[in-house]
Amino acid sequence: MSHSFGFTNKQYIRGNKLLFNKKKNMKKGLLMCFAFTALIIISCSSSDDSTDKGNNNTFNREAVLTNWVNNIITPAISDFNTKLTALKSSQTQFTTTPNETNLVALQTALFNAQKSWQHIAMFNFGKAEELNYRLFMNSYPVDFITTADDSQEDDNTIVSNIEANTLAIADIDFTLEKRNNEQGLPAVDYMVNGLAATNAEIVTYYTTNAIKDNYIAYLEKVLDRMVSLTNEVVTYWNSNANTVIANNGSSATASFDKLVNDYVNYVEKGFRELKIATPSGKRNGSPDKETVESFYSPQNSKELFLEAYKAVKNLYYGTSFSNGTNGQSIDDYLDFLQATAFDADERATKNITDIIDERFAAIDQVVAGLNNDFSIQVETNNNLMLETFNVIQLYVTVLKTSALNAMDVTVDFVDSDGD
């Protein structure tokens, strides 16, 4: 056949080979072009801030965020706002008509607010972070120290503040960080529970005391400061809830990562350290009952602790603040990831969620034995306080060394390249 086309077999083969080589080169070139284009496109768009909804193989972080924001954060903040408003009006009632009945009402309103506070303390997020809300609302113990080598400390104390004069009180700048423990819930606790041993005596500070106007002015100032801070946080959540939920990616700046970081930070610093480690003297060997939360109404200290513990569990399990129903949260994410850890002591691989359940159960057990009054607990059987620290620490370590990395949440946004 080929003869009729006028060229020889040999020529035909050579031509074909040339064509083939050219094709091969083209293919190679195309492949490389494709690879490089892919490289550039993919690497430029490698931020993983998209959530593919409705796929069984992807976890929906937005569902967690929706649950947290709608069922935990906003109801808890609105509850606290209500309790704080009640506290403010009890204060007005008391300062206008200082008597024992109004004092008891004020003390009750304070306790309600302190209890409610435990559910929002961990959300050092958005406006709260910007304002340093937690620091100003609940730094304890109250400042009685005039000088210290700590650069954060100054010569002012709550006593020197009150004993100045009403004009000077008006001038105190509560926005300064070093003034954090001269204000907030602990300051109110001191002023309504701690001025004297009996309620009758406390009332005299606001009725017959030479500087009763100072006491009234300072109490008002502290309350007003809390109200204005809280208003800002409430406004933030009213207008930003949806934005926070929509930031549903998995980068360091995504809502999920930030809230989990806030959570871990609170469990360590707010919950473990302040409530247990410091009063028990875990960190320096000397127990100090004065560092107990609500030291001037110490009979409430365990209840406040238990409330905080409930909040710690609620966030982990995704339990609704208002009605206690279970929703999507960290435990669901870990189960979705089938996150396991090998327990070398028991030679067994366990689900991380099962391990955490066990750790909570251990905390439950130890906590049950604690005295309602931590200032008594610290003095009578501090070992149980230290044991409480230990069981909380077991939860913290599994959270930080197993759960967080399973969820690919970096602690404190360590921003650097890896290998």
């Binding site: 492949l31 992807t58 090998f342 913290v396 599994v398 060394t401 390249d417 290998d419």
Partner: protein, 455 residues
Amino acid sequence: MTRGFNFRSYIKNDRKEASILASFRVLFGVLMLLSLVRFISMGWVEDFYISPKFHFKYYGFEWVKTWGNYTYVLFGIAIAACIGIILGFRYKISMVLFFLTFTYIELIDKTTYLNHYYFISILSFLLCFLPLNATFSVDSFKSKINYKYVPAYTIDSIKLLLGIVYFYAGLAKLNSDWLLKAQPLKIWLSSKTDLWLVGPLMKETWFHYTMSWSGALYDLTIPFLLLYKKTRPFAFVLVVIFHVFTRILFNIGMFPYIMIVATLVFFNASVHNNFISFIKRVLSLNHISAFKIREKYALKNQNIKLYIISIFFVIQLLLPFRNLLYPEELFWHEQGYRFSWRVMLMEKVGETQLIIKNGVTGKYFYVDNTDFLTSFQIKQMSFQPDFILEYAHKLGDHFKSQGHENIQIFAESYVALNGRLNQQFINPTVDLYKQKEGFKHKTWVLPFKDEIKGF
């Protein structure tokens, strides 16, 4: 016919086109320049070298100090050196400067240690001895001499270094965690289900194993696939795919690009000639051609350079095996872990606090890590014994200078490795202030409760 490989003749006679080195020089310089600019723009100079109160030192390099705000000067010099390298302007000085500044920066703080930074350091050391400016460079323009060829070993030594990096990284993956448990990839991949297209695969166990095994196979074979002409294009496609994939999955900065570009050195001269003539066309440099073309570049002091390069490679071949000199689990005590191409082998997280105790009165207190370290340093310190020891000594010296007496330092440390539950890491009864850093086995690291078999 089967005449053996004659080393003497290979050194003396074998030659390859100088354009290979020239295009490698340009690409290397550009990538280093981009890396440095990126590093500065991320604010890392401030975060890693200026704001930390103290720095973790490499053993023997305690004398390398941060320049504080002047660290930017170091970066400035390195960037200037990069420009010199790209242009081939005073190449030798530029390269030496780059090697010195880059390595100095790396030595300031081992918190930032990455295998690929180490790779850049040793590669730039090697490049100081090679004639990357033999052609297509300002140096050759000024001397009016272009060399067509360079000794083959100058190019092959770069290939050898790359080959070592890959092959040793592959060897290091031959361990039971990697191959039999698909760890740590299982942990790292499982949470990446949001990724476009490949997301749904990330949770699949078979996928974790496939990635682990193919990763090991890739590292072990890629140097050989790149060496042979027939498999080279295929190998290069693999290189691109592999590094693009790691770029998508992990936060590894410029490294994938550096590795992709470096492998181009395996290609023959036509690719590089095309690249160079492309640059010439773009920059309209074609008219500059009043060169004397000489055949082969002869290295000055070739023998000395050859000795240095040989010693360099002997060290590179042996150093990664130094872990064999230590008992117990390498991943746990990390003696011999760095500088040995053990890349992405561990998901290791720690929670470590130090206790300062007065040995006479028994009084003690815990140190708040955030008072002394950045969050990045806390993270790295918490699971690496040499960091913990150095931190203990720095704290000890600090509190001593504050007037504390009879200082003893103990660690409360828990570490989790590759999907195991955390276990106590440092012997809590050992006074770390009395322990010395050195090459001796660190007996105060508690034994690892599990076993990892392999390299």
